[in-house]
Amino acid sequence: MACVLGISAHYHDAAAALVVDGEVVAAIQEERLSRIKNDPGLPISAALACLQFAGIDPAAVDALAFYEEPFAKLERVMVHLLRHLPRTWRLFPRALASQLGSKIWVLDHLSEATGIPRARVLTCEHHHSHAASAFLVSPFADAAVLVVDGVGEAHSTTLWHGSGAELRQLASVDFPHSLGLLYAGLTAWLGFPVNEGEYKVMGLAAWGRPHLRDEFAKIVTLHPDGAYELELGCFAHMSDAELGFGPGLERVLGPRRPPGKPWDLDDPADRRFADVAATLQAVLEEALLGLARRARALTGSANLCLAGGVALNARANARLLREAGFDRMFVQPAAGDAGGALGAALIASQRLGDRRPPALVSPALGLPIDAARGHAVATELGLRVRRVDDPAELTARMIAEDRIVAHARGRFEWGPRALGQRSLLARPRDRNIRERMNRLIKQREPFRPFAPAVLSERTAEFFAAAADDMSPFMTTVAPVLDTMRERLAAVTHEDGSARLQTVEAARTPELHAVLTALAAAGEDPIALNTSLNGAGEPIVASSEDALAFFLRHNIDALILEDLLIERPR
């Protein structure tokens, strides 16, 4: 019986997760509390918030598990700095300062900041943490586990076999060959910020044609055994942390797209950039299929768990489930580096003799809303605020009236997706709602889709798919039925797919109640569900964040637990 805090930090998406007696009690990304998007700093606020939520004193924590091994990482960084000398001369001072200035002392810093004795601070391997974060909370007793990200200590891809509570590593592909860094390099070439713009590339891919295979054959080679190899001259991740791609990439694909330039997909130049995104997506999917087939051959398992930043590519996940030969597949909602905190906590919990946790049911592992405080602050702000008996029914009514509703109820979600606890909800029928949402709030590129949330049991009425192990966490896509595309115009992507979330009462009760109320009112049991945040901001966490959002954006109403805050119509 142990109390374990897991921590991921110092790259991007720092997070903390608390596991008590083998049960995941809380998991929070630091960005939700610091309000800095993708905050990479030590997640001390998140760690203390997890403990406070559970009513646990830091002195009672049996272990603090960090999600990677700092000295193994230092070794890899040093080896690559020296191997690529003299090209690394610009990176050398920065990398050395970052490693020696803070990263190798991270365990001491964590101990000092949390008050947990240093002797109780331990480390796990980066990819082991990822693998544990997926497999140990999956519904499977046995599974192949595939971890694909930029890079951990040395590995960029690993294959594991999970059985019971055990995880055994089978094989790896090592840095600098990396599918995560392939995607990151192309993300930078397309003019998007790395570690933030990857979703945009995925959205853009649906607008292009994947016909640039010959060019991509010069960038990445996929081997018949599932391994892959990057043409390193096209990339700069070995020698330049900022650029991400090398001159070779511009020789193959042409000059990069200038960052910040507005998109116009009627312009042939931007069409070609979309074609590059589409080809990248196709190549990534094929690479992942090769890896997954290899994993299937090595493990013989019928189930697949996927983790690492690349596992957030919902389109690729859907294709893997269709074509890789597995019966079932699971991707937990924080599959990126934040998930490492959860994995590290679970590994340490196992080492201390705890049982394997039950399968992850709800993504709501964050902090709840303080409605009393929200009421007091909203009143001081002079907002129209009133208590309502049935917030779900009222939310449904407003959605049916084509109003955009900010919905903040329950504990906030774990991971980068808003899954109903901190969401903007709207009617999915009218394409104009997308433009309105973009104009008022999101300021997104025109090619980025909005996602639907649908009552789980009625999924098949609208989509050519049923609910599966990924759909409750919005980590997959499904085709919208041809007959439903007009009815779901605001959430159907250019290629006819939608990144759907299937909603069950046991997992997301508040959103389930809203969709049930919509159905009862004769509407489709579907809502457009997008994250409750402004452009460039993390998703809302507290009542104050929600009120700040309401002040800044011209939305119709805010539901804060049982409070309705409305703008005069």
């Binding site: 001369w89 050398f92 790896s172 592909v173 060959h177 507290s542 104050e544 700040a548 002040l551």
Partner: protein, 231 residues
């Protein structure tokens, strides 16, 4: 100190705003400062025990977010007019978590001093822009100045309320001014140390050159599948 801010702003204005590229960078830095201030105020709103003060901080944060956007938009426009257009970085600021570091009273003193300084600096810029006939830039700062004056006034009132008496409030202002001076001193030291560090690490880099050959021989890049290490 206050007059020094205005004087420096007046003196340096021709340099700071001399080309669209420079002006874009300057405005972008203002946008980042406003964004950082917005983060600190939102955190303050979440931390203060008083709902009334939380509301005031949220309103102030909302203004800062708007200012950040106004500065960023103008910076973007000027950057595109530059001879060699360069992308400005993303509008992503850091928070100093000043509320936690200073406590609410000193945080208010800090915000008040910052608003006061910004007001004097912006006043000087407005004058200069009018003199140069750059009405669009003058208008931008004039619009923001309306809020800056209001922020200066409410933070002063709130500080005096929270301090309980004038003497304590003034003590807090002096303490924070000293703290800011110390912070500037440390920043200057860091600036210098960074340069020394850069030279030292580049020397180290050159000295490490023979190791590069060794690494290439002993630790070549590995391709394809690698077996799992035995445990």
């Amino acid at each position: 100190m206050a007059d020094l801010t205005a004087t420096l702003a007046r003196l340096l204005a021709p340099l700071a705003w001399r080309s669209p590229a420079r002006a874009a960078r300057k405005l972008h830095s203002f946008a980042l400062a406003e964004q950082g201030s917005m983060l600190d105020l939102r955190l303050a709103a979440a931390r203060t025990p008083s709902p009334a003060r939380a509301a005031l901080y949220l309103r102030h944060a909302d203004d800062e977010a708007r200012h950040a956007q106004m500065f960023a938009r103008r910076a973007q426009r000027l950057a595109s007019e530059a001879k060699r257009p360069r992308a400005l970085g993303p509008l992503q600021a850091d928070s100093e978590r000043l509320f936690e570091a200073l406590g609410e009273r000193d945080f208010l003193a800090f915000v008040h001093l910052g608003e006061d300084r910004a007001r004097r600096q912006f006043d000087a810029y407005v004058l200069w822009f009018h003199e140069q006939g750059r009405e669009q830039d003058a208008k931008l700062f004039e619009t923001i100045l309306v809020d800056e004056r209001r922020h200066g006034e409410y933070t002063r009132t709130l500080l005096f309320e929270l301090a309980g008496d004038e003497a304590t409030a003034k003590r807090a202002l002096r303490k924070v001014a000293r703290w800011e001076l110390g912070r500037r001193w440390l920043r200057a030291g860091r600036f210098l140390a960074e340069r020394v560090y850069l030279i030292a690490t580049l020397l180290l880099y050159v000295l490490a050159a023979p190791l590069a050959l060794l690494v290439r021989l002993a630790r070549p890049i590995r391709r394809g599948w690698l077996p799992a290490p035995r445990k």
